[in-house]
Structure formats: C-alpha cells, structure tokens
C-alpha cells in the first residue's frame, strides 16, 4: 500500500494540469458561444479574438471560465464531463445497447484476449526454439525484431482488408494484429528468461547427465517465470492497443476504436474521451490482474518479489 501515495500524487498532478488546461483550450469556442448568447466578451469579434492565445483570451474573460468546464462540444472536455459520460454509458445503458461502453468494451476485449493467447503461445514456442536451436536463433530473432519496425498503423488496414477480401471478418483479423504486437515482448522476455540460469546451475544438470527436456522443465522454465510475467504485462497492453488500432481505420462498427473514431467524426468529443479512458482502465485492469498472478505465483515458488 506504500505505492498508493506516489501514484495518487502523479494522478493528482495530471488532474490539476488537465483542469487548468481546460480553460484556455476551450476559451475561443466558449467566447463565440457566449457572444451568441448575448454575454459580453472582450474583444468583441471572433476575428479579433483569433489574434489572442487561449491563455491571453482567458485572462481577459475570467467571467467565462465556469462555462469552459461545461461546454457541449469542447475541444478539451473537463474531467467531470468525461466521468459523467463514462458513468452514463457504462452503468446507465443496457450492456446490449449499441451505446453501452461495456458492449463496446467486450467487442474490443474478446479479440484482445484471443490475440494475446495466440501471441503469447507463439512467443513462448519461438523463444524455446531460439534458445534450443542455433539455426532458429540466427534466423528467427532478426525477423522478430524487423517485424516490430513496421508501423502497425500502416500494416493493420492492409491485414484487415486482405483478410476481409478472403471472407475473414470480425474477431479474427483484429486478434491477428493483437497477436502481432504481443508476441514480440514475450519472445524477448522468454529468451532472456530461458537463458537466465547461471553456469553453475547448468553445469550441475550436466553432472547429473540430465536430458535437454529435463533441463527445460527443472531449470530453464522455472527460471524464466519472472521474465514471463514481465512480458505478459507488456504483451496484454500491446494486444489491447493492437485491437484498437485494428478497429480505427477500417470503419469498424463497434469497439473502443470505433467509438473513438465516431466521436471524432461526428463532433462528439466526449464519446471519444470516454472510450479512451475506458480503454486505459481496461488495460490497467488487465495489467493489474497479471501483477496479482505474478505475485501469487512467485510467492508460491518461494521467490522473493522485488
């Protein structure tokens, strides 16, 4: 629980910065609207106001500050607006509704989890291959690294379109992108983990005339467990991002990615922001889940967690 205070301090600082930023970010829009509503604004014409920065305009119109926190279509919504939108779309809508964030969350979460399992499985298999086979070490590892240099934003639409043309739609193409992003940290972490036993621990098995298989189960795999959990935590959040990226450019009708896009296109920033925060909270929850699993597993294995 010692970690709560530092975390809350950072959250508080971010929130404070956000609260302050809301005023200048929205002031031009709020001033225009206030003028239409017959409230006095300095300076009086929108063209003149363009000459001012957001901060400058805010300082001349302090009486408009409260309005910036409650604007209908803000450039930067205030925290409580996002919170209200999230509450409304998470708790007040039926989860089968197309406007429910829970519904959209599941649409994104399902391919995330599927992709994560595919990516993790593939990553572990590749890592075992790389550690035990010199040929794979030389051939697979460079390609795994190259694969991560391709911008996922460029690749995702191609994959979706190509698979769509082949008649594969829905869950699987998104999972593929999620798997593509999550296998890499697992490969890197597991290769490092499987190679982490020191010379003495390895020589010891040799003096017992242990087989490779025995060495894997008795030494390499348990030694890699802490590395695996570190990789899983990176992998699951990468999976979620992969799924959202896969939803963005393809006109997906549901999912966090689709909500972000819809909010942007139809001038409903609150929809975008609510989806954004819901995605962040989902990622945090998934990472938190793995942290708990890590702690329980390592404790059961008798290893002290840092």
């Amino acid at each position: 629980m010692k970690s709560v205070l530092p975390v809350m301090t950072v959250v508080g600082a971010v929130l404070l910065f956000w609260l302050v930023a809301v005023v200048p970010m929205n002031m031009h829009l709020v001033a225009d609207q206030a003028q239409r509503d017959g409230v006095s604004v300095v300076p009086e014409t929108p063209v003149e106001r363009q000459a001012y920065s957001g901060i400058g305009l805010s300082l001349r119109n302090l009486h408009l500050v409260p309005r910036t926190y409650d604007f209908v279509r803000p450039r930067l919504p205030a925290p409580q607006q996002v919170a209200r939108e999230m509450y409304a779309t998470i708790f007040e809508k039926k989860i089968t509704s197309k406007r429910s964030l829970v519904y959209h969350g599941w649409v994104t979460l399902a391919p995330t989890l599927l992709g994560f399992f595919i990516g993790t499985g593939l990553g572990i298999l590749l890592a075992v291959g790389i550690v035990y086979s010199r040929v794979m070490d030389r051939s697979v590892m460079p390609w795994a690294i190259v694969s991560q240099t391709i911008p996922i934003l460029a690749l995702a639409p191609m994959v979706i379109v190509v698979l769509g043309a082949m008649g594969i739609q829905g869950l699987f193409p998104k999972s593929l992108i999620a798997a593509y992003l999550s296998f890499f940290p697992v490969v890197v972490g597991m290769v490092k983990g499987l190679r982490s036993p020191d010379a003495i621990q390895l020589d010891l098995l040799r003096t017992y005339h242990a087989s490779n298989r025995q060495g894997f189960w008795a030494l390499r795999l348990p030694a890699s467990t802490p590395y695996l959990f570190a990789s899983l935590k990176i992998g699951i959040s990468a999976s979620l991002i992969g799924t959202i990226v896969a939803e963005l450019p393809t006109g997906a009708k549901a999912g966090f990615g689709a909500r972000m896009l819809v909010g942007d296109q139809y001038g409903q920033p609150l929809v975008s922001w609510a989806a954004l925060f819901a995605a962040a909270l989902t990622a945090a929850a998934l990472v938190g889940l793995f942290s708990v699993m890590e702690r329980v597993t390592l404790r059961r294995m008798g290893m002290r967690t840092a």
């Binding site: 040799r206 003096t207 017992y208 008795a218 348990p222 008798g302 002290r304």
Partner: protein
C-alpha cells in the same frame, strides 16, 4: 558407517592398482581471443579409493580446470584421464561422481529438500526412496529440519552444506569439490572443514578438493597436489603423514606446520619459475 544402498550391479569397474582417477600426460589449451592459454600441461596423477586429495595453487594454475576435466565439464586437448577406469564422459553418464561448485547454486524456487531431490528426480529414483535419501543426507550435513525452507532463508554456510548434501544424495563414490568454502568466513569454514572430514570418514568416499588455502589443504588431505600457473602444472605431490582422525587442534602440531611449510615452499618454487 553409512551406505546409501548403492546398486551392487554397478557397471563401473574399479581401475587396476586401486586408482579411482588417473591422469596421464594431460594437456589442455584454451583458444581465446588473446591467443591460446595453456591451462594444463603434462599432468600425471593417480587418486586412489578413499583418498582425500587437495589441489592447491594460485589462480590460473589449472586446479579447477583439472577438476572440471575429471567431471567431463572440460575436454582435454591431449593425454588421457580415466575415472573409475572409464572416460570422464562415461563416468559422468553413469553418475559416478557428485560435484560441489564454488557457489551453492541452489535453485531458488525449490526448497532445500526439493534441491536435494533434483538429482534423484533426474535419475529416476522412486519417490519413497527420494524422501528417505533426502532425510539421510540432510542429517549427514547437519541440516535436519530445514527441508522445507527455501534457499534464501539459509545462511551462506548452510546453503553450501545443502549443496554438499545434494551432491551426496545419489551416493556416488567420488566427490569433486571446487573451492566449496572459498566464499565463507574463517569460523564457518573451520566448522565445515571439521564436518567434511567426519563425513568423509563415515562415507568412505574419494574426494578431490580444490582450494587456495594452505591450512585447509593440509588439514583435510591425505594427499596435497601443489600446482603452479602458466602453464598450469603439478609441481609437488605431498603425501600427508597426519593421522586420519584430525581434531582442529592438530593444526598447531609441528607435524602439521611442517607439511604446511612444504606446501608453501612448493607454491613459492612454482612462482620463482616464472
């Protein structure tokens, strides 16, 4: 006397003339980026059943390398070694020796009992017998009651004792020990040396022991092999005249000091050669 019911149909014949380990004209050169390193040159030595042989010398004299060659952890580039009358590789495959490393090297996710069980699991010893053996070797190294503790819960000396128990658990006749007490403080070390001698007397094992402490070598050994570096070679082999029964106080007797003196002279002579 303690015997851990070794299979009587053991297929490793004892070498003739009682030599358990025998090296003849042994050479080993490491190829490194800085050119070849002559780790062992023309090493000849016989170790007999029940011997306690210490290898002493400065760093780089090849004492650890020699031990690793016996264990088939390094390959010689010339000459021959036999362990139990067969090649080190065959000896290793028939699990002829237990090896104790410089560090305990316990697996942190296994309890002390689990670590000692490791070789037994790998060798396919039945479960019931595993438990039995773990119990016996833990008593042998004075760690009874620590079976369920994890390595980090034990002191360095206790961890090293656990690693000795692990090497004893499958009851090989030969024990190869590579500076097992090197990282421990003097008092713990004295205590463990005393225990090791008792253990050796009870189990009648053949022990090859690498050290760079003169008192340790003299106190423990029936035979002291003095080595010197560049190239790594044997410069003197001293047969100890001390009795097998050795209380710690024996280290103050003239006999002990005389042997220690000869070891020191041997080490110095090795250095003057350079």
């Amino acid at each position: 006397m303690l015997t851990l019911d070794r299979n009587s149909a053991d297929n490793t014949p004892k070498a003739s003339a009682g030599a358990v380990i025998s090296a003849e004209g042994l050479d080993l050169t490491f190829q490194t980026n800085d050119g070849p390193i002559h780790a062992l040159k023309d090493v000849n030595l016989d170790i007999h059943a029940g011997d306690f042989v210490s290898f002493i010398g400065p760093s780089g004299c090849g004492k650890t390398t020699f031990l690793r060659v016996m264990a088939d952890l390094e390959q010689p580039t010339g000459g021959s070694v036999t362990v139990n009358g067969v090649s080190p590789e065959d000896a290793r495959k028939s699990r002829a020796y237990g090896y104790v490393f410089q560090a305990a090297g316990l697996y942190p996710w296994r309890t002390i009992g689990g670590n000692i069980r490791l070789p037994l699991e790998i060798m396919g010893v039945p479960k019931a017998e595993q438990a039995d053996r773990v119990k016996r070797v833990l008593e042998l190294v004075d760690l009874a009651g620590f079976e369920r503790k994890f390595p980090w819960q034990l002191s360095g000396g206790m961890q090293q004792r656990a690693s000795i128990a692990r090497a004893l658990s499958f009851d090989a006749d030969i024990l190869l020990m590579d500076e097992p007490f090197g990282a421990l403080d003097e008092i713990v070390r004295d205590h463990l040396n005393e225990q090791l001698l008792k253990l050796w007397a009870r189990t009648e094992k053949t022990i090859a022991f690498v050290t760079h402490s003169i008192p340790e070598a003299v106190y423990l050994s029936t035979k002291i092999v003095v080595m010197s570096p560049r190239p790594g070679r044997i410069t003197d082999v001293i047969e100890s005249t001390l009795p097998r029964e050795r209380p710690l106080e024996i280290r103050d007797t003239p006999e002990f000091l005389e042997i220690a003196h000869r070891v020191r002279e041997g080490l110095r002579a090795g250095h003057l050669d350079e």
